[in-house]
């Protein structure tokens, strides 16, 4: 018998939330380092808002227009010329970004083809995002763990908070989420045992609010490719329910079609709500997802917001 293709990365009792939390907490320092490394990679291409506004950084000089505040005039510049210049600063509005990482047991899955478990990758992505956002002065909160904070080292703070928080078994309370904030939801989106909808109703509730959502779907390659063959008994890590197939390879094509449909449904949902949907496989580099997530995040803030 060859070893099973997929496994749950921590062998502790999956139901024990505390134990799992502790295991996760033990992981976090490493993940934080990894997250910073990934964030540094991406930060090289990180720019300001490219727009005039309230901020600290110089943006441009422009001729003074009647009626403007005198205080805005840059006298030093104006003294060189006959024109009176106003120093514009770059717009630096601080957004509130909520992070959330699915912590259900299914996220602990890791197949032989993937380097890390889905949860590990999700945490890395979230922390890296936090690092990036913190560097640009955004308010960052972690749903169910910590309210939004503004701090240069917000990522570390989040990590510290995560280390002491308990694993959430359900989707946390969303009442803290204010309108016009951004929500980054990182999950495998497989939790819905409901066979009708691809998405958990909790997400639907978030979507009701006037927020911009970013769905990051973490997929283990085994879940997409279905490399099983022969007689296999499949076990759900969350519900423990089992199902066995006499010849797994025979249903491969059907499964792949269904899984693709699941992803498409998720994508459709995102499109409908004006959210973004990023698909990430755990055998790919984390920076790739981070890059794409960042692009989505820095797109026009008004787009799709109802």
């Amino acid at each position: 018998m060859s070893p099973a293709i997929g496994s749950q990365v921590n062998a502790d009792k999956a139901s024990d939330v505390l134990v799992r939390s502790r295991a996760r907490a033990a992981l976090i320092p490493d993940l934080l380092v990894e997250a910073q490394r990934v964030a540094n990679n991406v930060f090289a291409g990180w720019h300001g808002r490219r727009r005039r506004g309230i901020g600290e950084n110089f943006w441009q000089f422009r001729p003074y227009v009647e009626g403007e505040n005198y205080a805005a005039i840059d006298w030093r510049k104006s003294a060189r010329d006959d024109i009176v210049y106003v120093r514009d600063r770059e717009w630096q509005a601080s957004h509130t970004v909520w992070l959330w990482v699915d912590e259900s047991p299914s996220m602990l899955f890791k197949s032989g083809e993937a380097a890390v478990s889905k949860q590990s990758r999700a945490l890395v992505l979230a922390l890296a995002m936090a690092e990036l956002l913190a560097r640009s002065g955004e308010r960052i909160g972690w749903l169910g763990v910590t309210p939004p904070i503004v701090h240069r080292h917000a990522a570390e703070r989040l990590a510290a908070a995560l280390m002491v928080s308990k694993t959430q078994s359900t989707f946390p309370d969303t009442s803290l989420i204010s309108d016009h904030s951004e929500v980054i939801l990182i999950s495998d989106f497989l939790g819905a045992d409901d066979q009708e909808h691809a998405l958990d109703p909790a997400f639907q509730a978030v979507a009701e609010k006037h927020v911009r959502g970013h769905l990051v779907q973490i997929i283990d390659p085994a879940e997409e490719v279905f490399p099983y063959s022969g007689r296999v008994e499949f076990r759900d890590p969350e519900t423990k329910s089992q199902i066995s197939f006499g010849s797994a390879q025979s249903i491969r094509a059907d499964y792949q079609a269904l899984f693709a449909a699941h992803c498409t449904e998720l994508s459709e949902f995102a499109k409908r709500t004006g959210w973004s949907h990023t698909l990430h496989h755990t055998d790919q580099l984390a920076s790739k997802a981070l890059q794409s997530l960042h692009v989505d995040l820095s797109a026009s803030p008004m787009r799709g917001v109802r």
């Binding site: 299914s106 497989l190 066979q195 008994e233 890590p237 269904l258 699941h262």
Partner: protein, 935 residues
């Protein structure tokens, strides 16, 4: 069991077969264990569940396979045995085990032994002692009963012999044993064949013992014997007899030569009611004479083998008579009676010419064994020596007297000295009666023949009386005068009949004795070892003997030499079993079966009161257990494969296997490709070169890789080629450059190897090729081309020298010397005293030749072979080099046309030397050779 010869060692285990239905149920209910996989998107998978029918049970064939496996294991445990042994012993007390280990048990010996060991096994179980008696050697039977294990070890060592059982001795021994020990039971493992009265006596003795007797008798249906073979004029005749004639028995008789190769084969059938049948080999006499063994195929008994010795061979006899054969009066021909007497047992070649010289040549050329000369007095010296040689090499000459011989009593090739003239007895002027023949004396080959009393001799030639006469006499007349005398000459014999070969001198040629005498005489030819050579009995060591299965084997230690006393043919015994005795040059065959012998089954009717009959059980018993277990293992492997297949592993294995095979194949191809393609390409490109190189003699230079050096070498060799073409009879082809590492060198008698300082030193493999080239007769001329650099003359080492040393380091180079003044190189075409090239002054070094005979007056040193290596520093190629217009490319140093001419001459000498070898050295001996030849 069930009428089959099948039994189980532990039948109760078979009860376990009843559990098979239970196993069936269990197996049906237990599907193969699936592989357990965690799979988060189970919800998606669940949608597919309806499509896939999950087998809750194993497939029926897998269950069947496993049931079969279980059944096989149960059967194997039960220990089924084919042909189980029945118990033989029935009573109590000591057992007397009598075994016929004679020739007739050859084929059944294994069964006999099996049964004997069964009996000892039974005896061991019931703790009974056993006495063992082997009927070929009853004297060795133990007086005391032995434990069965002792008997068993004796039985292990016992084998049957190729002789008849000694039933007479056995009967005596039996009575002795019966008197000594109170046996509970007697078991007689008989071979079923009667040896006549002795066997009957033995059976009677058994019957008289009033002890229960069990006799095992084999089936005799296939037992057949081969009676002695007779080599008749046209064919070889033999008879096959058998013991029981109730069935039809087809058999084949095969004749083998002395190397054991079959020569002839004949099939015959003994139909019902027929006890014997005659067969014959119709092969030509030359083939028949090679037969040394005739046997019934697959009979495996000594009785089915007849060994043939020289006595069975038909000799080719050549006849020469002094007078030309007169066809019109055949009865008067001196050869007529000899012809008639010899033809039954030999093949005759009659010389068809009266020229004795031609006749003798003719007959000897026909490979005759015997030459019969009727009434020949003298013969030419040459013929005499030829015939003498023939005799000395083992031929036999039989001479008959006659008027011519009587007139030349001192002629050659006579066993005794003769008195001139013949003795006429019983004529009109004589008182004496014609004489009869005296009884043959011991020591004569004729001893044993009945004394012929109907023969009268009226004329004879007489022998000089001397001391040797009586020992040379084989037959004499009543008055003691010799009738037949013989003498050994070399390996052959000369036999003289003192009468002539027709009925003028005696009526011997008309008698039957004449035939016998001639036959015995002819038998002497080429078998001189076996001829009785004196009064003492002949002792012949065993050469090969027949073993119990009728095969010829080297004699074991206990076999004694065969003693043949004149006229008394020995009988096979334990110490002298049937076989071949003597040496490979001359041997006699001792056969078991005598003339017209019959075999009969042993009659045990008398014993019916106390007798139990047993059967030898054909075939060995056969235990099925290992085979059943093996089959079960095989099924288990199949089951493993099936389980793997169910678990979906097989595909992976196949994939892995295919990958491994691919990798392996790729590796192989890669490893092949490292040299194969280059070799291939090389053979392609070089083939035409090799062809042309093989067809014309051409010079070759070694490509150094420096184009300048190579061009000079090519131009130099071209110049030399043209020079040689114009000055000598040798017209070489255009020179060629060879790649020393890859090209075939064998085609070039001579390699020019300029030393290029920049060229890399050839690797070991290349130097091995060079070494092989040199050892196969090639010569290499190394040219360091740097004489000019050794400014201070010879002695100082130059860079070129160092390079050369480096190159030659791995070569097997003999000691070298500068060409001595008497070396062949100085005179192989031109006469030279120095070897200049473009430079002069450098020495030409060659292999040192032997300095043993340093004679001042010899113009050339002898010495075989060609120096495989020549080393110069004079830059020959530079001197030889020419361009297309035949202009020299380089000036010689110092500049002189004479030096160039000499350089060319050196080249010619070197080429001639490498091509013709020491031929020129031998040329100097021509005057001496001519003188010795007297011309």
């Amino acid at each position: 069991m069930f009428g089959l010869p099948l039994a189980f060692a532990s039948p109760w285990i078979l009860l376990a077969l009843l559990t098979l239905p239970l196993i069936w149920l269990l197996l049906r209910l237990t599907p193969p264990k699936p592989q357990d996989e965690v799979f988060p998107p189970l919800a998606i998978l669940r949608k597919l569940a309806a499509k896939e029918e999950t087998p809750a049970q194993s497939p029926w064939w897998l269950t069947l396979l496993r049931l079969l496996m279980a059944g096989l294991v149960i059967l194997a445990m039960a220990g089924p045995i084919w042909n189980p042994r029945d118990a033989v012993l029935q009573k109590e007390g000591p057992v007397l085990l009598i075994i016929d280990d004679g020739w007739a048990s050859g084929k059944i010996w294994d069964q006999v032994k099996q049964m004997a060991s069964t009996i000892t096994g039974e005896a061991e179980k019931s703790n009974r002692v056993v006495s063992l008696m082997l009927t070929t050697d009853p004297a060795t039977a133990s007086e005391k009963p032995l434990s069965s294990s002792e008997v068993n070890s004796k039985l292990e060592a016992a084998f049957n012999h190729a002789i008849r059982p000694d039933h007479q001795g056995s009967a005596a021994k039996l009575n002795e044993l019966l008197a000594a020990i109170q046996f509970g039971e007697i078991v007689f493992l008989s071979d079923g064949v009667s040896t006549g009265d002795a066997s009957e006596g033995f059976v009677t003795a058994l019957g008289n013992s009033s002890i229960p007797v069990t006799i095992a008798e084999p089936e005799l249906g296939e037992l057949a014997i081969l009676n002695p073979i007779e080599n008749q004029p046209g064919k070889m005749i033999g008879t096959v007899s058998r013991a029981i004639d109730t069935s039809t028995l087809p058999l084949r008789v095969i004749a083998y030569d002395k190397d054991g190769l079959p020569i002839a084969r004949v099939s015959s059938i003994l139909s019902e009611g027929q006890k014997s049948v005659e067969f014959s080999f119709d092969q030509p006499v030359e083939l028949r004479n090679q037969i040394t063994r005739v046997e019934i195929e697959n009979a495996s008994t000594a009785g089915a083998v007849q060994l043939l010795d020289e006595g069975n061979r038909r000799r080719i006899v050549g006849l020469i008579s002094g007078q030309s054969s007169d066809i019109s009066q055949p009865l008067l021909s001196p050869l007529y009676y000899i012809n008639r007497a010899l033809s039954p047992f030999s093949d005759l070649r009659i010389a068809d010419t009266s020229n004795i010289e031609e006749a003798a040549n003719d007959l000897i050329a026909q490979n005759v064994s015997v030459i019969v000369m009727a009434d020949i007095g003298t013969m030419p010296n040459e013929t005499e020596s030829k015939i003498t040689k023939f005799v000395e090499e083992g031929g036999l000459v039989i001479r008959f007297a006659g008027p011519r011989l009587a007139a030349n009593p001192n002629g050659p090739l006579l066993p005794v000295d003769l008195i001139e003239g013949d003795r006429f007895i019983g004529g009109a002027l004589s008182w004496e009666e014609p004489k009869a023949i005296a009884a043959f004396e011991p020591g004569s080959p004729f001893f044993g023949l009945p004394t012929p009393n109907d023969i009268s001799v009226s004329r004879q030639v007489l022998a000089e009386q001397n001391t040797e006469l009586s020992s040379k006499t084989w037959a004499r007349l009543e008055d003691g005068t010799p009738l037949v005398t013989a003498d050994q000459l070399g390996a052959g014999w000369i036999v003289l009949f003192h009468v002539n070969s027709d009925n003028n001198w005696s009526n011997l040629p008309l008698s039957g004795s004449f035939v016998d005498m001639l036959r015995l005489t002819v038998n002497l030819s080429r078998s001189t070892n076996t001829a009785t050579s004196g009064d003492t009995a002949l002792r012949l060591p065993a050469m090969e003997i027949l073993d119990g299965t009728g095969a010829l084997t080297p004699p074991p230690a206990q076999v004694k030499p065969l003693v043949i006393e004149a006229g008394l043919w020995p009988v096979p015994t334990l110490e002298t079993p049937p076989g071949l005795y003597g040496t490979a040059d001359g041997f006699v065959a001792l056969n078991l079966i005598r003339e017209k012998e019959e075999i009969n089954p042993l009659d045990t009717q008398e014993l019916s009161s106390t007798l139990t009959k047993a059967q030898y059980q054909g075939g060995a018993s056969f235990a099925f257990t290992p085979w059943l277990l093996g089959a079960a293992t095989l099924l288990f492997l199949l089951d493993c494969i099936a389980v793997l297949w169910f678990a979906g592993m097989l595909g992976k294995f196949r994939f892995a296997g295919a990958t491994a095979a691919l990798v392996l194949a790729a590796g192989l191809i890669a490893s092949q490709s490292t040299f194969a393609p280059t070799a291939f390409a090389q053979s392609k490109t070089n083939e035409s070169v090799d062809f042309s190189a093989a067809l014309t003699t051409r010079f070759a230079y070694v490509k150094t890789g420096s184009s300048q050096t190579d061009n000079v070498s090519a131009a130099g060799l071209l110049g030399l080629t043209r020079f040689i073409g114009s000055r000598t009879a040798l017209e070489p082809g255009d020179p060629i450059g060879v790649d020393i590492a890859n090209d075939e060198l064998a085609f070039y008698p001579f390699l020019y190897w300029p030393i290029d300082l920049d060229a890399p030193v050839p690797d070991e493999e290349t130097m091995a090729r060079v070494d092989a080239y040199m050892k196969q007769g090639g010569s290499i001329l190394f040219d360091t081309k740097d004489q000019i650099n050794s400014a201070l003359g010879s002695g100082s080492s130059t860079n070129g020298n160092a390079k050369l040393r480096e190159i030659l380091a791995s070569l097997d180079i003999p000691p070298l010397e500068p060409v001595p003044s008497d070396h062949v190189l100085t005179k192989s075409f031109f006469l030279l005293d120095s070897f200049p090239g473009r430079y002069q002054g450098g020495d030409l070094w060659v292999e040192q030749t032997g300095r043993i005979e340093e004679l001042v007056d010899r113009p050339a040193r002898s010495g075989d072979g060609v120096s495989t290596i020549m080393i110069t520093s004079n830059d020959f190629a530079g001197a030889w080099a020419i361009d297309n217009q035949n202009r020299s490319l380089f000036a010689t140093i110092p500049a002189s046309t004479g030096q160039r001419e000499y350089a060319f001459r050196v080249g010619v000498n070197i080429v001639m030397y490498t091509i013709t070898g020491n031929y020129k050295a031998d040329q100097v001996h021509i005057p001496a050779l001519l003188e010795r030849l007297g011309q």
